[in-house]
């Protein structure tokens, strides 16, 4: 009796110690990952508030002596030629990404629904064909697509980008949404149809609201993909006033190679919209993955 009373707390202590070992390992690991992730971004911000002269010093100023926002002012000033270009690139990116996002939701939702609900011949083949799109790198499609876009009269238009971006956003969008629809009981729709709704009404009134997280996740994914795309924009667009942000920034700074504060400020500004969008809506994204694609 006494032995049990003695060993029990000792065992408990040992178990707590072992769990603590794992917990501390996890904490140290997370701290390391935090540094790895955050330090480059912090250094970007610190550089962006230095002057061009202060940035080019060795050893570097760990904290800027005279922090100032002149790089940002230059980029955002519509009177300045740099600012004009930057704001125009920003606007172009916004237009292209928004159009891509809206179109991919419109195209992906019915496709994913059909792949989930209907059993038509060739369904699996088509589904895999769609998924296979993501296997192929952009470079393979560049030349033929460029020729195709020329035939369609879309070279140097944002339409060429929207059409191309659609295709690489679609596979994951369809796959994500299909997982979502798979998990919505058919009985809900059947009940609605017994109550007199058409298939379309049942889809709009029952299925769509339930799949909102999936649709939001799809939209974020398309938007971020389009916002950050570089190769097609680099190849399809040649007119300066049509460039999107990644290409515009690259082109600008291949001429001004030493303006690192400006480059860091531009990188920061380019990241703000997608980061904010993602942080605001990220729970939908994780939820869509959990309830849709990853669930088994």
């Amino acid at each position: 009796m006494s032995t049990i009373a003695e060993t029990a707390p000792r065992n408990q202590a040992r178990r707590r110690m072992r769990i603590d070992g794992w917990r501390w390992g996890g904490r140290i690991f997370l701290a390391f990952m935090l540094l790895y992730t955050a330090l480059p971004m912090i250094w970007m911000l610190l550089t962006s508030i230095k002057s061009g002269f202060a940035a080019m010093q060795f050893p570097p100023q760990w904290w800027p002596d005279q922090p100032n926002l002149s790089s940002y002012q230059k980029l955002l000033d519509p009177q300045n030629s740099v600012g004009q270009d930057f704001l125009r690139f920003f606007w172009n990116s916004l237009v292209v990404s928004t159009a891509t996002t809206i179109l991919s939701v419109i195209v992906a939702v019915p496709a994913a629904y059909a792949f989930s609900r209907f059993t038509f011949p060739g369904r699996n083949f088509l589904f895999f064909a769609v998924l296979l799109r993501n296997m192929f790198p952009a470079v393979i499609f560049l030349v033929p697509l460029f020729i195709l876009m020329r035939a369609l009269g879309l070279v140097n238009t944002h339409g060429s980008l929207v059409l191309t971006y659609l295709t690489f956003g679609l596979p994951l969008a369809i796959w994500l949404l299909k997982g979502f629809y798979d998990n919505i009981p058919v009985q809900l729709e059947q009940a609605a149809r017994i109550d007199g709704a058409t298939r379309f009404q049942a889809f709009i009134l029952i299925v769509m609201p339930l799949s909102t997280p999936g649709i939001i996740a799809t939209a974020i994914y398309s938007f971020i993909g389009a916002w950050n795309e570089y190769i097609y924009a680099y190849t399809f667009l040649s007119k300066n006033e049509q460039l999107t942000l990644p290409v515009g920034i690259q082109r600008f700074f291949s001429e001004n190679t030493t303006d690192f504060p400006g480059l860091m400020a531009a990188s920061f500004m380019m990241s703000v919209p997608v980061v904010v969008l993602f942080l605001v809506l990220q729970r939908y994204f994780v939820r869509a993955l959990t309830e849709g694609a990853v669930k088994h």
Partner: protein, 319 residues
């Protein structure tokens, strides 16, 4: 007699089966309307380019000339590629790049997901910060790291000198031996959050009861992970690893912006090399032949990819 009727019977059955497919297609004609937009876009942007690339791979396209001045050269482009030294160098780079990036991103992402699975103060903020690199543009990431690696004013070099670990700032991306690992670090920085999100989603699907039951039965943390958590995540892990592998195999922006493949091809991977052949040296035929080889490799990978992605569904179908 019996044989004849048997044959006729078989033929009739075949015919009815064929018309059965057609009838089925007809019966489901409305269903196709839902997938038609997706398929149409895909066909335009995929099927045609694939056909065109295969055709072009058998032609020689002299630089500076119009594409229609191409001449047929048979499989010369392929033999030229396979016998060139650059090809093997680039292939080795691609393998190192893909395997290292995929494996390390996955392990870091998985570990971060496990560490973040337990509730603690500031978990949401920490998770959000860790995801940011995945969201920002690869172009921005390339410039940030290019600046960090800068051979004169780079912050890493300055830290190393400050700590007395180096006499002068090392040349991270201008030296043949360090350029590829340096770029892989950047790539992992951008990719591990994806693995983390996927594994976080996977972890949430594990029923709590299972882990609690294992704990009651006396399993320690490692045993619970190895016998309960990990088997549950096999499917998600496969999908994540394959998606990462495909993305890494196809990556372009980071090596292209940071080094352009240099110095002396040390950071060229397949995609940047193809791009340079096509748009830099205008050797479209060779570049297309490269692309076709790439297709073949990707189709092999794609077989596993599709099997992994459809794995969930097949299980549902049998259940």
């Amino acid at each position: 007699m019996t044989i004849v009727t048997g044959k006729a019977e078989a033929r009739r059955r075949l015919r009815s089966a064929r018309s059965g497919v057609l009838r089925k297609v007809w019966k489901h004609r409305a269903d196709y309307a839902y997938v038609l937009p997706a398929i149409a876009v895909m066909l335009i942007v995929i099927a045609y380019p694939i056909y065109y690339t295969i055709e072009l791979s058998f032609f020689n396209t002299p630089p500076g000339l119009q594409l229609r001045d191409k001449t047929f050269v048979g499989i010369d482009n392929y033999t030229a590629i396979l016998t060139s030294q650059v090809f093997w160098r680039v292939t080795l780079n691609t393998m190192i790049w893909t395997v290292a990036s995929t494996f390390i991103s996955f392990v870091l992402g998985f570990a971060a997901a496990l560490a973040l699975h337990r509730d603690f103060i500031g978990r949401g903020i920490l998770r959000a910060i860790l995801i940011i690199p995945w969201v920002i543009s690869a172009v921005a990431a390339s410039y940030i790291w290019k600046w960090i690696y800068h051979s004169d004013f780079g912050v890493i070099g300055a830290v190393l000198v400050g700590l007395g670990l180096a006499d002068r700032p090392p040349n991270f991306i201008d030296s043949v031996s360090t350029v590829l690992p340096s770029l892989i670090v950047v790539n992992i920085w951008r990719e591990f959050p994806f693995a983390m999100i996927m594994m976080m989603a996977g972890l949430q699907t594990i029923p709590d009861q299972l882990l609690r039951a294992a704990k009651v039965d006396g399993a320690n943390a490692w045993q619970r992970f190895w016998h309960v958590t990990f088997p549950h995540l096999r499917n998600v892990s496969t999908v994540t690893i394959l998606l990462l592998a495909v993305a890494n195999f196809n990556s372009f922006i980071i090596p292209w912006i940071m080094t352009g493949g240099g110095p002396s091809n040390a950071s060229h991977i397949w995609i940047t090399h193809i791009y340079e052949l096509a748009f830099g040296r205008q050797r479209w035929g060779v570049a297309s032949a490269y692309s076709v080889l790439l297709f073949l490799i990707l189709m092999t990978l794609g077989y596993f990819y599709v099997r992994a992605l459809s794995g969930n569904e097949r299980k549902d179908g049998s259940a």
